[in-house]
Symmetry: C2
Subunit: 99 residues, 2 copies
């Protein structure tokens, strides 16, 4: 029990971050508005969490213009994949310990 708890990563505790990371695990990239819509978030809530994840090096942000419109997309980094996989493994171990 203690062991699986200790491998839970505080960076991914919030459900918004779980949502962002799991989306980027299965989609090569996702743009801001799609993430917002898929996860049912506000602009401010999504912004603050992607910023946090970017600062920790778990996701990368790409900003470009499509015509005159800004287009922001996100993808998971290798470090993000490793860290999130470890987090998910810890959650799975915790769930398993209860059954």
């Amino acid at each position: 029990m203690q062991n699986s708890i200790q491998h839970i990563n505080k960076a991914f505790e919030s459900k918004v971050r779980l949502g962002i990371m799991s989306t980027l695990m299965v989609n090569e990239k996702a743009d801001f508005n799609s993430l917002k819509e898929w996860l049912g978030l506000t602009d401010g809530n999504l912004s603050s969490h992607v910023k946090g994840l970017e600062e920790m090096g778990y996701i990368d942000v790409q900003k470009q213009f499509v015509g005159r419109k800004p287009y922001t997309s996100y993808h998971i980094t290798d470090a993000g994949k490793i860290a999130f996989t470890e987090h998910i493994n810890a959650l799975e171990a915790l769930i398993k310990s209860m059954t």
Copy 2:
């Protein structure tokens, strides 16, 4: 995705609370010191989280004396079992959505 995220309960997001609740799902009761030791926590950290969980009606606290020593034990309530099961189901659905 959005659906499983929305069923994640903010009350159980922190790893300390995940640890407390999953311990009390599989043990009829647990005393303060055992929980502290099993989960590798400090007094203050454990105290604040059990207080939070108690206030939400998810766990019950029983205080008694064994001889002259105070003995505090915790058990999960029916509401706690239902809410935590829903939380775990949401995490499992999230994990499944990635594979």
